[in-house]
């Protein structure tokens, strides 16, 4: 009896040691999922006041200022499509962007319903015309409000669009190399991502062209823990070909604001949800 239990204990110990080791070295899929989750899905919803400084190669600056609201579709209770071990559920999201600056876009509102399996739905509200304009959502890799960030950088690129491999693990980072599954749909050959091992924040991304040269670079410039969530509070996207860059500063970030899904609708395009936009 005693030997038997000893064997069991030893066996279990072996298994769990293995498991512990596995947890220490997450798979590429786990890293990507967790980094994606950390970047775009923390909290059930959120709000941020966002300042953008777009600086051209001659140092001339244009500013944008907006409030971004986010709502995440809750994890479905019983969905066979989602494996049970999928800890970081990244589902559909809704974004509401209310512009403050510059003056020509003041009080405009932009609504995005982000889908995973089809084009996003996008609406733009022009208050001077009381016009709710529908915008085609197929182009995700075009400039967001004239900045160096793409729509996809703001709302997240679907992780299933690329093949990810772990190129290197350093003391601080997992360094990933991601290659697009449909190379024709994008203008990069591949990109490298430096993911902070402890927080899973993306600290740097570099996009490489066909010649293997980095031509576009994302950097997290400041991070902070807000309501327990690690958050990038300042980031920069640089176009290495033109030396133009855009700094994004998240001045007030709040998670779990209790914003209801109903805010992400035509009603609140026409009537800004002041309560959720302020403070």
């Amino acid at each position: 009896m005693k030997t038997k239990s000893l064997i069991i204990v030893t066996l279990c110990a072996g298994i769990f040691a293995l498991c512990a080791q596995a947890a220490d070295k997450p798979t590429v899929g786990q890293i990507v999922e967790k980094a994606n989750f950390t970047a775009y899905y923390q909290g059930a919803n959120g709000r941020a006041r966002v300042k953008m400084n777009i600086v051209d190669s001659q140092g001339r600056t244009r500013q944008r200022e907006m409030t971004i609201l986010r709502w995440d579709a809750p994890k479905p209770k019983q969905d066979e499509n989602i494996p049970k071990n999928k800890e970081y559920f990244a589902g559909e999201q809704k974004f509401y962007v209310f512009f403050h600056k510059p003056a020509d876009v003041d009080k405009m509102a932009f609504l995005v319903w982000k889908h995973l399996d089809k084009d996003d739905d996008r609406w733009l509200y022009l208050p001077n015309l009381d016009l709710v304009k529908r915008i085609a959502g197929s182009e995700k890799r075009t400039s967001f409000v004239g900045s160096d960030f793409f729509y996809e950088d703001i709302s997240g690129r679907n992780i299933a669009y690329d093949k990810h491999e772990l190129a290197e693990t350093t003391k601080n980072y997992y360094i990933l190399k991601s290659t697009p599954k449909e190379p024709k749909s994008v203008n990069f050959n591949y990109y490298k991502t430096w993911i902070h091992r402890k927080t899973f924040l993306v600290i740097k991304t570099e996009y490489y062209d066909q010649a293997g040269r980095a031509y576009r670079k994302y950097e997290a410039k400041a991070v902070k823990q807000i309501q327990g969530y690690w958050t990038v509070t300042k980031s920069r996207m640089t176009n290495l070909r033109t030396n133009r860059y855009t700094d994004v500063i998240y001045s007030t970030v709040k998670y779990d604001t209790g914003i209801p899904e109903s805010v992400f609708s035509e009603r609140y395009l026409r009537r800004p949800p002041t309560k959720y936009l302020e403070n």
């Binding site: 319903w113 084009d119 739905d121 529908r134 182009e139 400039s143 600290i203 740097k204 991070v223």
Partner: protein, 487 residues
């Protein structure tokens, strides 16, 4: 039992302890390379960049997280103080000339200086907004007498409303407001809210295509359907082409006319009996937006003629329609249709009042990244079908130009964004194969910086017949330029 507990404890230790030591270890990780915190202030971006490892950004190190110099309390500029008070607006000058002579109009098509002031504030549960335009106008010098209903004079109220939500699911907006619904692109089928075609044709900013309405809008929202009701106690006229600024085809004279024959119109003026009602039911099905519309009021332009008074008037009009809009292939497709029930000429026998019509519109818009970046193309096909065309022809005064049973219009929009979206080059064209006329709107807009915008554009009217919709404006073709400072 004991064995199980032992196993359990062993397992627990194995799980917890390594994890625990690991977190401990991680948090004790030595600080990052020296000099990291300080060097963070302004590292000049090396072109070409090293392939090396990025430094950790501030906030990820244990110690120097707060070493970043915090911004000292910013002193607000005058502009920021103005914005904080809820005030915004712009100052603009805009000038334009006809590209040909018009015997009935001035050579200048537009010449104005405009100051728009907007004040918006939420006070507790009440939302308030005022938008007023102060105007100096060289072309139609009617500056001294202000007519807010027709939008004449040195001041125009574009918005003056209060909004509130008496119930959680109800929004109310009362007062002077801009109202728009429907799916067309510079074509309106179910939107019977007032428009200012004169502003549109002379090259004012697009926002002036919409004229304000004095109304109460009540919107109720539910899972089943959203309902919008708009009540205007007194009919809201559009700002039509009367001859003051633009020459037009005068049906009585049977020729083009302008300042020599300014349209005299009889505005409905009885409060409540000359009221207007508009309604919309809308709902989303997935990505598709469906809507049904109804309108009970008047034609927005004085399309009827009263022989006895020798004045144009606004015949009564009801419209009923629907629309659908949603993604299709790589773009957005829409369809909208409406029946125009001309209340005062339902038989179609009165030649001085428009016949009832069916209006249909198909549209499609998409980006063309294959051709160029940030290039958008939109096409629309629009048709107006006259009911009782036989009656119309039979009762038409002898010698009058007869309209076709159906007027077909095709529109094309091409917009290209350049220079990081600071330069927009585009055109919008209407072409009617049945009227054999066209209207083309080229436009270039450049944002000099965050405040200044310069714009040049044109309004080109082409037509064989002076009686067709766009053909009648052929002497009004113009080019314009503007400079705006927005704050």
């Amino acid at each position: 039992m004991r064995t199980i507990t032992t196993i359990f404890m062993a397992v627990l230790t194995l799980i917890v302890v390594p994890g625990f030591t690991q977190t401990l270890h991680a948090s004790e990780e030595p600080a990052l390379p020296a000099g990291l915190g300080e060097s963070q202030t302004t590292p000049p971006l090396p072109a070409g960049l090293e392939i090396g490892e990025p430094e950790l950004p501030p906030g990820l190190e244990t110690e120097p997280a707060e070493s970043q110099p915090q911004k000292t309390a910013e002193k607000k500029t005058f502009q920021e103080q103005v914005k904080d008070a809820g005030i915004s607006g712009f100052l603009e000058t805009r000038g334009g000339v006809r590209t040909q002579n018009d015997p009935h109009e001035k050579q200048a098509s537009i010449g104005e200086a405009r100051l728009q002031l907007e004040w918006q504030k939420d006070i507790d549960w009440l939302r308030i907004k005022f938008t007023g335009d102060f105007l100096y106008d060289q072309v139609d010098n009617h500056l001294s007498d202000i007519d807010l209903r027709r939008g004449r004079g040195w001041f125009d109220f574009r918005e003056a409303w209060v909004g509130f939500s008496p119930l959680k699911w109800v929004d109310v907006k009362m007062g002077r407001q801009i109202l728009t619904w429907g799916t067309g692109d510079l074509l309106f089928v179910n939107d019977q809210f007032p428009k200012d075609w004169q502003a549109f044709f002379t090259g004012r900013d697009l926002e002036y295509l919409k004229a304000p309405a004095d109304a109460v809008k009540i919107s109720a929202f539910s899972k089943l359907v959203d309902v919008d009701l708009v009540f205007s106690p007194l009919m809201n006229p559009g700002r039509f082409v009367s001859g003051r600024r633009l020459s037009y085809f005068n049906r009585n004279l049977g020729r083009l006319a302008g300042r020599d024959a300014i349209t005299q119109d009889d505005l409905p003026s009885e409060w409540f009996s000359d009221a207007e009602y508009a309604a919309r039911l809308s709902r989303k099905f997935g990505s598709y937006e469906l809507a049904a519309y109804g309108f009970w009021g008047f034609y927005k332009n004085p399309e009827g003629f009263d022989m006895a008074k020798n004045k144009a008037f606004y015949p009564r009009l009801n419209t009923y329609g629907g629309s659908i809009r949603g993604p299709f292939w790589r773009g957005i497709a829409n369809f909208e249709g409406a029946y125009y029930d001309s209340q005062q000429d339902r038989s179609g026998k009165d030649p001085l009042i428009p016949n009832s019509q069916v209006r249909l519109l198909w549209g499609y818009e998409m980006d063309l990244p294959q051709v160029a970046r940030e290039l958008t193309v939109g096409v629309q096909y629009y048709v107006e079908i006259m009911m009782n065309h036989e009656e119309y022809i039979r009762t038409l005064p002898p010698g009058a130009a007869a309209g076709d049973e159906a007027r077909h219009v095709i529109t094309l929009r091409v917009t290209k964004q350049l220079l990081n979206q600071n330069l927009a080059v585009g055109f919008f064209a209407y072409y009617s194969p049945t009227d054999n006329d066209a209207y083309i709107r080229p436009n270039i807009k450049y944002k000099i910086d965050d405040h200044w915008t310069v714009e040049v554009g044109g309004n080109v009217f082409i037509g064989q017949q002076p009686s067709t919709f766009f053909g009648q404006f052929r002497r009004n073709s113009n080019v314009y330029a503007s400079l705006r400072y927005a704050f």
